[in-house]
């Protein structure tokens, strides 16, 4: 018996997804073996980490250096009124570890920067983007490309959201589709927008590990909550991409 075989309790705990065609106990064991970094513990990170914890992703590392504020509570569902002033890493760990005692949850209270990002993702199988700013997203995308780690992008603004999965060297990366950063200032967000986009990102992670379905690669999914429409923009990997373009292969591992 390997350490990734399911216990009787786990078979019962994850039964409703084990019976999904294509997942089965083998797929659940793959999830148990999976190591995921969730970068950000805010609106997107709350939803992504909750569903990945519930789904039994074996090792979940959540990175966030913020503290919980009153204005977070409309959307950051891992953090509650009693948590105001507490580190989001601490607040997240309290909730997630109660949700599922059968996985390894590690929360790290640091700011993701050029100097520590390699260490934060080393040994992990996938990076999930739950950041609240573009510079750190670009840094995570760059790191994912450098080490060949799949990257699941998500972002929100008001009632609009976007998501795309990046398989380094094979599919369009974040730099193939965006260059700049959004204007400064407070970003409006309705709580349901990260709920939808974060759920899509968590779905992508589960599909990636279990191998079911078709990933959201080289397709930018655009959610327009105002008009309640989902549109898909097919995007081509940019051969001239400053990061993953054909002339930059040497940068990748």
């Amino acid at each position: 018996m390997t350490k990734f075989m399911l216990t009787d309790e786990e078979k019962q705990q994850y039964n409703r997804q084990i019976i999904i065609p294509g997942i089965g106990e083998t797929g659940q064991e793959k999830l148990k073996k999976a190591r995921v970094v969730v970068a950000g513990g805010g609106g997107l990170g709350s939803v992504i980490s909750t569903y990945l914890t519930a789904a039994g992703l074996g090792t979940l590392r959540l990175v966030d250096n913020d503290t919980v504020e009153l204005s977070n509570l409309n959307r950051q569902i891992l953090h509650w009124g009693k948590d105001i002033g507490k580190a989001k890493a601490t607040s997240a760990k309290e909730k997630l570890s109660q949700l599922n005692k059968n996985i390894n949850i590690e929360t790290i209270n640091v700011r993701i920067e050029e100097s520590n990002v390699s260490e934060l993702v080393a040994g992990f199988d996938i990076i999930v983007d739950a950041m609240d700013n573009m510079p750190t997203r670009y840094l995570l995308n760059k790191t994912a490309i450098k080490y060949g780690i799949p990257f699941v992008h998500g972002a929100v603004f008001g009632l609009e959201g976007r998501a795309m999965t990046v398989i380094p060297g094979k599919t369009a990366c974040l730099r193939c589709i965006y260059h700049g950063t959004q204007l400064d200032g407070k970003k409006p967000v309705l709580g349901t927008t990260p709920a939808i986009i974060g759920s899509i990102q968590a779905t992508e992670v589960i599909k990636y590990f279990t191998g079911i379905g078709t990933l959201l690669t080289s397709r930018l999914l655009i959610y327009d909550g105002l008009n309640m429409k989902f549109t898909e923009l097919k995007v081509t990997r940019d051969k001239n991409c400053q990061l993953c373009g054909d002339s930059n292969h040497t940068e990748r591992k």
Binding site: H179, G180, L183, L233
Partner: protein, 90 residues
Amino acid sequence: MSVNIKVATYLQPYIGGKENLEVEGKTVRECLNHLVVQFPEMKEMLFDKDGKLLDYISVFISGDVAFEDQIDNPVKDGDILTILYVIGGG
């Protein structure tokens, strides 16, 4: 060339609340200029004061991205040109 331009939600109020419309032009720049002629408020949403495409705007020509360096790329009749701006919240 007749090209269909689609704009992201946030920009739709600047083109009369529409999601898409037809413009004429042989290049991405000409198409965007034709859009701006019809909807002058779009100018500052797309271009800086030197007339360069803002760095947080991405234009896709039927899937291929165009930033400022590719703005003179040709378009074909029937192309769909999608204008997105970066969104960065989480």
